[in-house]
């Protein structure tokens, strides 16, 4: 990913131009990933293997293409989240939030969306919805209201919240690592627009569903009977998890001062929490606990990233991405504002329809190739924010736009309230376009005017 040397290879592989081989592998693998017939990690690793076996890359070039900062940050945060979720703190906060608004159906929707957005910004949106969605179903059931508006709001809030920080959504982790943008950069540049987008989206949801959300006093009283303290399963572990979480997030904000990468902070925090969570236990129990936590890391996602980085490095190595970058610049007339707009809107539409991770992986070298035109890497900053906003918010456009969306849809299906693909898209796509329009105005006013 950091290979800045773009040279179209003149060598011929099996009688074919390496450009065609690399592009064919990329398109084939992306096409099969989109078809969702095979595991995406297996496909990405197959594609990576083909890049080496076909001679597009050698072993060393392939390994150097893997962005270990992204891999380390993802793995470290997955370990921290895997331990933290055992404490019951997500459920505690969700119930507390519902009781704060005295069981009012609309207030609960707003509070659960807010909790989801904040957790998604500070941890990851997939884990957040995994733990908040079942509690949401329980609360809507107790209220006797339709769960769809709540689940719909949860999906949108998770993707909006995840946009705010470096660690909120995988595309941001990839962009931060490739463009050397730290946690504070994301906080200063993306977080300010997120509350605006959140408020606009919640207001629109009120007009769509809010007026129909009503419950009797008896049902509101039932919400007040929930006992949030009973949700906490392990108080000592909760204290340890909160300590490490606060330390890690503080570490992210100061890491660049000490020339540390976020991956170092996340991995160190994960190691400390692993140590603390089983402190004082017999050795056998400790080993068992470590193995349990390690098994909860989403290795499929990690290997998907590894394979993807190698595939994109292969394509980048042939120089085709640099050529595409030049074509894009020709279309936008080399104008930064027009290029940022193109990146923002294309990323949003693409992310609504396909997996945003491979899309962002391909866009990163394309944007990097534009540095000479705009006068260096510093000038590319608005384009990175455009990519982050487009890719993360674009995930709200359809049910397949982000992993969190599919997880919520799965819960809804099992609860007997399936979310239809077209119904969701009818409600969400225009709302997503609205958020992108707000992001466009923000980018223009802050960086491009």
């Amino acid at each position: 990913m950091h290979n800045t040397e773009h040279v179209v290879s003149s060598s011929v592989i099996f009688g074919f131009d390496p450009v065609w081989i690399a592009v064919s592998i990329l398109l084939l693998i992306y096409g099969v990933i989109m078809a969702e017939k095979f595991n995406r990690a297996v496909l990405a690793l197959l594609g990576a293997g083909l890049m080496i076996l076909c001679g597009v890359l050698n072993q060393q070039q392939a390994v150097s293409g893997i962005d270990f900062n992204t891999i380390g940050l993802l793995t470290g945060m997955m370990v921290i989240v895997a331990i933290s979720q055992k404490t019951g703190m997500f459920q505690y906060v969700a119930i507390k939030a519902a009781k704060m608004v005295k069981g009012e159906p609309w207030g609960i929707l707003v509070m659960l969306s807010l909790v989801t957005a904040v957790f998604s910004a500070l941890l990851d949106n997939v884990t957040t919805v995994l733990l908040i969605a079942p509690v949401t179903l329980l609360i809507t059931d107790a209220l006797g209201v339709r769960p769809y508006p709540y689940l719909f709001a949860l999906i949108l809030a998770s993707n909006i919240g995840g946009t705010a920080t470096l660690i909120g959504d995988p595309p941001n982790i990839m962009i931060g690592s490739a463009a050397h943008l730290n946690f504070t950069d994301f906080l200063i540049n993306l977080a300010p627009i997120i509350p605006v987008i959140f408020i606009v989206v919640i207001t629109v949801i009120w007009f769509m569903f809010g007026r129909d959300l009503k419950a009797t006093d008896e049902k509101k009283q039932l919400i007040m009977q929930f006992d949030e303290n009973a949700a906490i399963k392990d108080v000592p572990l909760l204290k340890k998890s909160l300590f490490v979480l606060v330390a890690v997030i503080t570490g992210f904000t100061v890491a660049h001062t000490f020339h540390l990468e976020p991956a170092t902070i996340a991995m160190f925090g994960a190691a400390v929490l692993l140590l603390l969570q089983s402190w004082g236990q017999p050795l056998h129990d400790k080993d068992h606990a470590y193995e349990g936590i390690m098994a909860e890391v989403e290795w499929t996602t990690i290997f998907f990233f590894v394979g993807l980085f190698i595939i994109v490095t292969g394509v980048e190595h042939t120089g085709i991405i640099a050529m595409l970058g030049e074509k894009t610049l020709t279309m936008t007339g080399g104008d930064l504002a027009a290029t940022a707009a193109a990146v923002l809107w294309v990323s949003a539409i693409a992310s609504a329809l396909i997996d945003n991770i491979p899309f962002v992986a391909t866009m990163i070298p394309l944007i990097q190739s534009m540095a000479p035109t705009f006068g260096g890497e510093e000038a590319l900053i608005p384009l990175w924010w455009a990519l982050a906003l487009g890719a993360c918010l674009g995930g709200n456009g359809s049910l397949i736009g982000a992993s969190a969306n599919l997880i919520v849809a799965g819960f809804a299906q099992r609860a007997g309230h399936p979310i239809a693909f077209l119904t969701f898209m009818k409600h969400a796509f225009l709302l997503m376009l609205l958020t992108i329009a707000i992001a466009h105005v923000y980018l223009y006013l802050r960086y491009l005017s």
Partner: protein, 157 residues
Amino acid sequence: MLAENTMVTEVTTAHVNDRVCDVLERMRATKLRMLPVVDDAGIVAGVISTFSIMENLVPSYIVSGDLNQIPYAPDMGILRRHYLEVIEKDLLSVMETKPLLVKRDESLLSTAAALTAFGKHEYALVVDEDKRLIGVISAGDILDRLGTMVESAENDA
């Protein structure tokens, strides 16, 4: 030995137009946990059991395992809310529509096998060619019949 020789013919039934609360009352009075549901012509439409009523009380997102540990929820409040809804429902929306049916000329061995394989019902409904209910046969009835046979064989010897 055929099913019709062992079945119980005096059967307490529920009607397709009954509500769940009517049936629950009848179950309490007769201490039965499962009743065949029949229409005006006596044709079997399904069975209603305490199990099928309970299935309707527990939300599916809990049954699915997505929320299996919920010490923080007001359990009796939530169950009561569903109970009040379910007892007002028509039987048709709560009953099981695929009961275990056996024909009157079915052997006891195959009836016993059907009961074992089906698992969740206390008894099989014995029906005629038009699916009209003519009796019920339970595992207990089969065991009683076998016990009587062994006893009489021993007495004869």
